[in-house]
C-alpha cells in the first residue's frame, strides 16, 4: 500500500489538455493468479477512445484529455466496476471531479474499487438426495414404492366384510359386459 496517497493529480499541460490520474484497488485475494489478473486490467476512457494499463502499484494515467465530462471504465476479469463520470474543469486548471454512475456516489479521490466480484460459472450443488428424488427417474421409483407398499396397506384398511360383499357383488354380476350395461336388454 502506498501511504502518501496524493489526491487528484491535475496537471496543466497546454491550452486544453489535462491529465487524469487515478488508481484501481482490488481487495487482496488469496486466489492464486491474483497478480496475473492484475496485469490484464485495462482502463478505458470514453468507450475506447483511449485505453491504458495499470502500473504495478495500481495507478493509471490518461494524458492529453480535453476539459469536459468523460467516462472511465475499468475492465478486469472477475470483477464488476461501475463506470465513473469524470468532470475535468477548464476553469480550475484541470481539476477533476468523479462520480460512480451506478451508485451515484461521488468520489473524493479517484480510487476505483470493484462493486462486486463476478463468478462466471454456476456452483455445482453438493450431492443431494432430493435432487435424485426430483428427477423423473426418482419420481418413477417413488411412485412404484407408493404402489407396492402403500396400496396393500390401503387394502388392509378396508373392512373385510365390505370387501367380501363387494367381491360377492362382482361375482354375481359376472364380468360386466356391454349387454348388462344396456338397460334395454333387461
Amino acid at each position: 500500500m502506498v501511504d502518501n496517497f496524493c489526491n487528484f493529480d491535475f496537471n496543466f499541460m497546454s491550452e486544453d489538455s489535462y491529465t487524469i490520474t487515478g488508481r484501481v484497488r482490488i481487495p487482496a485475494s488469496t486466489v492464486i493468479g491474483h497478480a496475473a489478473k492484475f496485469s490484464n486490467i485495462k482502463v478505458i476512457l470514453n468507450g475506447g477512445q483511449n485505453i491504458t494499463f495499470l502500473r504495478p502499484d495500481g495507478y493509471f494515467t490518461f494524458h492529453k484529455v480535453p476539459a469536459g465530462t468523460h467516462l472511465i471504465e475499468v475492465n478486469a476479469m472477475g470483477y464488476f466496476f461501475s463506470p465513473v463520470r469524470v468532470d475535468v474543469s477548464a476553469r480550475h486548471r484541470g481539476k477533476v471531479q468523479a462520480t460512480l454512475t451506478e451508485t451515484r456516489r461521488s468520489l473524493s479521490e479517484l480510487v476505483l474499487e470493484p462493486l462486486r466480484a463476478e463468478q462466471y460459472y454456476e456452483m455445482r450443488e453438493p450431492f443431494n438426495v432430493m435432487s435424485i428424488a426430483k428427477s423423473p427417474m426418482g419420481l418413477m421409483v417413488g411412485f412404484m414404492v407408493v404402489v407396492v407398499f402403500l396400496m396393500p396397506k390401503l387394502m388392509e384398511n378396508i373392512d373385510p366384510e365390505e370387501m367380501k360383499s363387494a367381491q360377492e357383488q362382482m361375482r354375481s354380476q359376472g364380468v360386466p359386459s356391454l349387454s348388462s350395461l344396456l338397460p334395454a336388454s333387461r
Partner: protein, 981 residues
C-alpha cells in the same frame, strides 16, 4: 401428493429467467477459444539468457506479445487501443519491453517475464510525423543510456528505469525531421541525423545524458531527398534523391557533412526508379530497381559498388553480428513450392553460412518479412533461426531446415463470416468406430454420473473432462442430425479464406484468394465480402455448395471488382473472374436458378447494376421479377438515402445484356446542419419469423414483420465525436424507421441530450439500440417494437370463424401501413462494441441479445428484459405471461456471459446461425481472438442435454425390473400361503 408439490415447482422452473449458466467443468465442451496476435510488424528476440527463449513482437492489430520461441505459444499479450498503433518495439536493460505508440506520443515499458506494465510516459507531440524509437544496446547494465524517441517534431530522451523524461528538444519550429539516431556503443554522444524540408541535411551531436548539443552541422542538398534512408555504418547513411535515380552517401561524423552522388545508372544498366529496402545491413544497402534487388557495398570513402543481385521475390532480414566482427543476414526466396533460406556474411557474400530448403504450403503466398536470430551451438559454431511473416499473415519459425512452429495470424483480422453445411454421411462411412464398445460407453456414463453427484475423485474428473472434450464424433467431417457440426467460413484481411470446424475450431481448409488468379490486371485483390452462392438442398443434391467471394483490386471503391467462387467441401476455387466494373453494393436476391445458384445483383459506381450468374436462365428469372426489384443506397456523408428501381437493360450503352440501368424512386434528405447519419441497419434477409401474432394479456397484437424496413440513426454534427466533446444541450439523437420500397418514414423517435456511437440490432418487428445519454452520463438501451394496426380488428373470434378476416391478404408496401410502435428505455452499465441476436431454425425459441461489451466479453440478455410492455407492477396475468417488473437498468448477470472466463480480445463482430435443432443456435465471435459456442436460449427443450445421465436411467430401469420381480415372487408366496390356510 408428491406430484402436486412438484408440479408448481416444475412450472416455476420453466418460467424462471433462463441464463446460460455453465458449470466450470462444462467449459470447453461446446465452445472453443483461439488466441491470435495479427500480422507481425516488428520482432525482437530475447535469447541471451538461459531459460525461456522468447521473441517480442508487435503487430498490425496493435498487439504487443511475448511468444515462446520453442512452441510459438503466447506467454503474454496486450491489445492496445484501436488508435494506439505501435511504431516501434525494443528491449531495454534486458528486462523491459519498450513500445512506442500513437505516432510517437506514448512510450510504455512492460516487464519482460509477465507483461505487467512498469511505466508509461506521454511525450509531447505537435504534429503528425514519422516516429522513431532508439533503444540503446547496452551490454553492461551499470551504464544506463537513455531511450531516444522522436515523434511529432520533438526529440525526447527517456530513462529506461522509470520512464522519466530526461530532456527534450523542440524541433517543430525549424521543421527538422529526424531520420536516424545513432548511438555508438560505449559513448554517450549520439548523432541525430535528419532533414529539413527534405532538402537540407542536419546532424546534431548530443550528449545523451544531459541533452547538451555538442555540435551541429547542416548542409543544403540541391535537388532534395526522397526521404528513404539506409544507415550503413556509424558515420555514413545513404539516401535517394528526389528523382529516385541518384544514391547520395552522406558522411557526417568527421568534419563537415559530405555528399557523394552515385547515379544508379552507373551501378545497373537501364535503371528505372529505385527504392531503398528497409533491412539494415552493415556497410551495405539493398536497393530495389528494375524488379531486382541489388546489394550495394559502401566503401571506405563512400564509394558504391554492386556486389550481388537477386530476383525481386526476396525478403531479407537486418544484419546481426556473428563472431569476429562479422555481420550476417538472412534472405529468403521462392522457387516453385519451396523456399530457400540463406544466411550470408555481409562482407563476403559468397560465404554462405547456411543454406536450407523448406517445402512451403502454396496457400501461404510470398514471404513478406524475415527476422533472424543466431545462437551458439554446442560445438561453438553459429546456428541460425529465422522468423518469417508470409503474405497470408502467418508467422513461422524456421530452424534446422524445418518449420518448427507456425501461427495462422490471418485469423486475427476476420472481415466477413458465413456458415456452411458439411457433406452428408455416406453409407460406407461407419459410425461405430467412434462409439467404442457398449461397455466403454456405459463406463463413460457411470463416470459422468459420479461427476454429477460429486462423488468423483480428481482422476475421475480428469477422465470425465477428456471424455467430454473428445466426445463422440463432435469433430467429424460429416453432417450430423442436429446440425451441430458446421463449417464457419471466415474471410480475412490477408485475402485468405478459412473453413473452421465448429466442433473444435480446427482449420479444415484454407485458401489464399490471389494465389490462383495471377492475372496481370489484378495482382492482389483484397476480399471484401462473402455470400452464399449455391446451397443445394432440393434439386442439385449432387453438387457441392459454394460461396461467392467479392473482392476489389485496390482499396479504392471505384477499382474493378473480382468474383471468386469457392467450393465449400474441398476449399478449391471453382472459377474466378475480373468483372470489369466496380463493386459498391452486392445484393443477394431471393431467387435461385435450377441448380440452386442464388441470383445476385452488383451495383457499380456509375449507377448500373449487374446480374450474376450470367446465364440466360438467371436472366429469364430476373426479367420475370424485374418490376419488383428495389434497392437503396446510403450516402452517410451527405445525409441522403436514395431508393432505386430497375429501369431497363443498359444495352443501349453496352452490349452487356446482364447490365441494367436504374432510376431513382425516392430520396430522404436529412438536414445537414442538425443531423448526421451514424448508423443504418436492416433485418437479416434469412431470418425466420415463426408467428406474426403476439398475445398481449388477453389481447392480440400483430407484429409488423416487413423485410423492407430500415433503421437509421442520426446525431447532431457536434455530437458525432467522442463522449466528453459535447454538452447535453448540443447533442440529440434521432432514430427513424424507413420503408425501403417507398421511402416512407414509419416512425421517428428523438432522444434529447444523447449521442452515439449507436449499436443496434434489428430482428422480427423490433429494434434494440445502444447509445450514450449525456444527461444521466450513462449508456442506454432503447427498444422499439412495431405492430400492424390494420390487422388489429381480426381479434374478434366471430370474424375469424366467418372468414371475414384479412389475415390472408398480401402485405404490400404500396399501401400506407397502419402501424403503431411501443418503446421503452433502460440504462446499461457498460460500453458496447457490437450487438447480435440469436437466430434459430424456425424462430420459435425465444430470442436473446448477444452484447459484445467493451471488456471483450459477450453477454446474453433475454429479450424479455427489453420488452416495452414491462411495467413497474405487472398484473398477475402479465406475470404468468413472463413479463418482468420494470427496472431502470438492465441486469448484468455474470453467469450469462457466454464467453465465461474468456475474452475475445479486440472483439469486432458476432455472427449467429441456426442449427437444425430448433432450440439451438451457433454463435461465432471474432476480433483478434476467435470464440465459438452453441447456445440454447430457452434451454434444450427438444433434446436431452449432454449431461443427461443414461446410467441413472439404466439403474432406474434395472431397479424397477428387480422390484417387479421381487413383488411378483412375494405375491406368489403370499398367495400360496393363503391357499394353504
Amino acid at each position: 401428493m408428491g406430484i402436486r408439490v412438484f408440479l408448481p415447482l416444475l412450472l416455476f422452473l420453466s418460467s424462471a429467467i433462463v441464463s446460460f449458466s455453465l458449470y466450470e467443468d462444462q467449459a470447453g465442451i461446446t465452445d472453443w477459444h483461439q488466441r491470435y496476435i495479427g500480422k507481425v510488424k516488428h520482432a525482437v528476440f530475447h535469447t541471451q539468457k538461459t531459460g525461456r527463449k522468447r521473441v517480442i513482437v508487435s503487430t498490425e492489430e496493435n498487439v504487443v506479445a511475448s511468444l515462446d520461441l520453442r512452441h510459438g505459444e503466447i506467454f503474454w499479450r496486450h491489445v492496445l487501443g484501436t488508435k494506439d498503433a505501435i511504431d516501434g518495439v525494443g528491449i531495454a536493460l534486458g528486462k523491459y519491453v519498450i513500445t512506442l505508440s500513437s505516432e510517437g506520443s506514448t512510450l510504455r515499458a512492460w516487464n519482460l517475464p509477465d507483461g505487467q506494465m512498469v511505466w508509461e510516459t506521454s511525450l509531447h507531440t505537435a504534429k503528425p510525423s514519422k516516429s522513431l524509437l532508439s533503444v540503446p544496446i547496452n551490454l553492461k547494465v551499470d551504464k544506463d543510456y537513455p531511450i531516444i524517441v522522436f515523434g511529432g517534431g520533438y526529440l525526447h530522451a527517456v530513462s529506461a528505469i522509470d520512464g522519466e523524461v530526461l530532456w527534450e528538444k523542440d524541433f517543430t519550429a525549424e521543421g527538422f525531421e529526424v531520420q536516424r539516431v545513432l548511438q555508438p556503443p560505449g559513448s554517450s554522444i549520439i548523432s541525430v541525423l535528419g532533414f529539413i524540408n527534405l532538402s537540407e541535411a542536419v546532424v546534431y551531436q548530443i550528449d545523451s545524458k544531459s541533452g547538451e548539443v555538442v555540435a551541429q552541422k547542416s548542409r543544403v542538398f540541391p535537388g532534395g531527398f526522397s526521404g528513404e534512408i539506409s544507415s550503413v555504418s556509424s558515420d555514413k547513411v545513404v539516401v535517394l534523391d528526389s528523382t529516385r535515380s541518384i544514391l547520395v552517401t552522406i558522411g557526417f561524423v568527421d568534419g563537415d557533412i559530405s555528399f557523394q552522388k552515385t547515379p544508379i545508372s552507373d551501378l545497373v544498366e537501364n535503371s528505372g526508379k529505385a527504392e531503398i529496402l528497409s533491412p539494415l545491413l552493415s556497410n551495405m544497402l539493398a536497393v530495389k530497381v528494375n524488379k531486382r534487388t541489388i546489394f550495394v557495398k559502401v566503401g571506405g570513402e563512400g564509394k558504391l559498388e554492386v556486389v550481388d543481385s537477386l530476383s525481386d521475390e526476396t525478403a531479407m532480414s537486418d544484419s546481426l553480428p556473428v563472431a569476429d566482427d562479422q555481420e550476417a543476414f538472412a534472405s529468403v526466396h521462392h522457387e516453385g513450392s519451396k523456399i530457400h533460406l540463406m544466411v550470408k556474411l555481409v562482407n563476403e557474400l559468397d560465404n554462405v553460412l547456411l543454406r536450407e530448403t523448406i517445402q512451403m504450403d502454396q496457400q501461404r503466398g510470398r514471404v513478406h518479412k524475415v527476422f533472424m536470430n543466431n545462437y551458439i551451438r554446442t560445438d561453438r559454431s553459429n546456428g541460425f533461426r529465422a522468423l518469417i511473416v508470409m503474405e497470408d499473415h502467418s508467422l513461422l519459425l524456421l530452424q534446422q531446415g524445418a518449420i518448427v512452429w507456425s501461427r495462422e495470424e490471418a485469423l486475427a483480422s476476420v472481415t466477413d463470416v458465413t456458415t456452411a453445411e458439411l457433406p452428408v454421411e455416406k453409407d460406407g462411412v461407419s459410425v461405430a468406430k467412434v462409439e467404442h464398445t457398449l461397455f466403454e460407453w456405459l463406463k463413460g456414463h457411470v463416470l459422468k454420473l459420479k461427476g454429477s453427484l460429486l462423488l468423483a475423485s480428481p482422476e475421475d474428473v480428469v477422465a470425465i473432462q477428456d471424455l467430454r472434450v473428445k466426445s463422440s464424433g463432435k469433430n467429424k467431417l460429416t453432417r450430423d442430425h442436429n446440425g451441430f457440426r458446421k463449417l464457419i467460413l471466415a474471410l480475412t484481411r490477408a485475402g485468405k479464406l478459412f473453413a473452421l470446424h465448429t466442433g473444435d475450431g480446427r482449420i479444415v481448409w484454407s485458401m489464399l484468394l490471389n494465389s490462383h488468379s495471377k492475372s496481370q490486371t489484378c495482382e492482389r485483390p483484397n476480399g471484401i465480402s462473402l455470400y452464399q452462392w449455391q446451397v443445394p438442398h432440393h434439386h442439385a443434391m449432387d453438387k457441392n455448395p459454394s460461396v461467392l467471394v467479392v473482392g476489389r483490386c485496390e482499396s479504392d471503391s471505384s477499382a474493378p471488382g473480382v468474383l471468386s467462387f469457392v467450393d465449400v467441401y474441398t476449399g478449391k476455387e471453382i472459377s474466378s473472374s475480373d468483372i470489369g466494373h466496380s463493386v459498391v453494393q452486392v445484393m443477394p436476391l431471393p431467387y435461385t436458378d435450377s441448380t440452386e445458384q442464388r441470383l445476385h445483383l452488383i451495383a457499380d459506381t456509375v449507377g448500373h447494376v449487374h446480374l450474376y450468374p450470367k446465364t440466360s436462365e438467371a436472366l429469364s428469372i430476373f426479367q420475370r421479377e424485374f418490376q419488383n426489384v428495389y434497392w437503396y443506397t446510403v450516402e452517410a456523408d451527405e445525409g441522403i438515402i436514395r431508393g432505386h428501381v430497375m429501369k431497363s437493360s443498359c444495352s443501349g450503352e453496352t452490349a452487356d445484356e446482364y447490365c441494367f440501368t436504374t432510376r431513382e424512386l425516392w430520396t430522404v434528405v436529412f438536414p445537414s446542419e442538425s443531423e448526421k447519419i451514424i448508423s443504418t441497419l436492416t433485418r437479416k434477409s434469412n431470418e425466420v419469423v415463426h408467428t406474426q401474432a403476439k398475445v398481449n394479456t388477453e389481447d392480440l397484437l400483430y407484429k409488423y414483420v416487413s423485410r423492407n424496413l430500415m433503421f437509421v440513426a442520426t446525431v447532431s454534427p457536434k455530437g458525432a465525436g467522442e463522449i466528453g466533446s459535447v454538452t447535453p444541450e448540443e447533442s440529440s439523437l434521432v432514430v427513424y424507421l424507413i420503408d425501403t420500397i417507398t421511402g416512407r418514414i414509419l416512425h421517428r423517435l428523438s432522444h434529447q441530450g444523447c449521442q452515439g456511437p449507436v449499436h443496434a440490432v434489428f430482428s422480427e418487428n423490433w429494434v434494440v439500440y445502444h447509445y450514450f445519454n449525456l444527461r444521466a452520463h450513462k449508456y442506454e438501451f432503447t427498444v422499439v417494437e412495431i405492430y400492424d394496426q390494420s390487422r388489429a380488428e381480426n381479434k374478434n373470434v366471430w370474424k375469424l370463424i366467418l372468414g371475414k378476416h384479412n389475415l390472408t391478404a398480401p402485405i404490400t408496401s404500396y399501401s400506407r401501413p397502419e402501424v403503431f410502435t411501443k418503446s421503452q428505455s433502460y440504462f446499461f452499465a457498460q460500453s458496447v462494441k457490437t450487438i447480435a441476436v440469436t437466430s434459430t431454425a424456425k424462430g420459435i425459441t425465444s430470442k436473446h441479445l448477444l452484447i459484445g461489451t467493451i471488456g471483450d466479453q459477450i453477454l446474453a440478455l433475454d429479450k424479455r428484459f427489453v420488452d416495452p410492455r414491462r411495467t413497474l407492477n405487472p398484473s398477475q396475468a402479465e406475470k404468468e405471461e413472463g413479463i418482468i417488473p420494470l427496472t431502470d437498468s438492465l441486469p448484468i448477470i455474470p453467469q450469462s456471459y457466454v464467453t465465461h472466463s474468456h475474452k475475445v480480445e479486440g472483439l469486432r463482430g458476432i455472427v449467429t446461425a441456426p442449427s437444425k435443432l430448433e432450440s439451438t443456435t451457433h454463435v461465432f465471435a471474432y476480433g483478434v481472438d476467435l470464440f465459438y459456442t452453441r447456445l440454447a436460449p430457452s434451454k434444450t427443450y427438444d433434446s436431452l442435454t449432454d449431461d443427461f445421465s443414461y446410467a441413472l436411467l439404466l439403474i432406474t430401469i434395472v431397479a424397477l425390473v428387480a422390484a417387479i420381480y421381487i413383488t411378483w415372487v412375494l405375491s406368489e408366496k403370499k398367495e400360496l400361503s393363503e391357499k394353504w390356510r
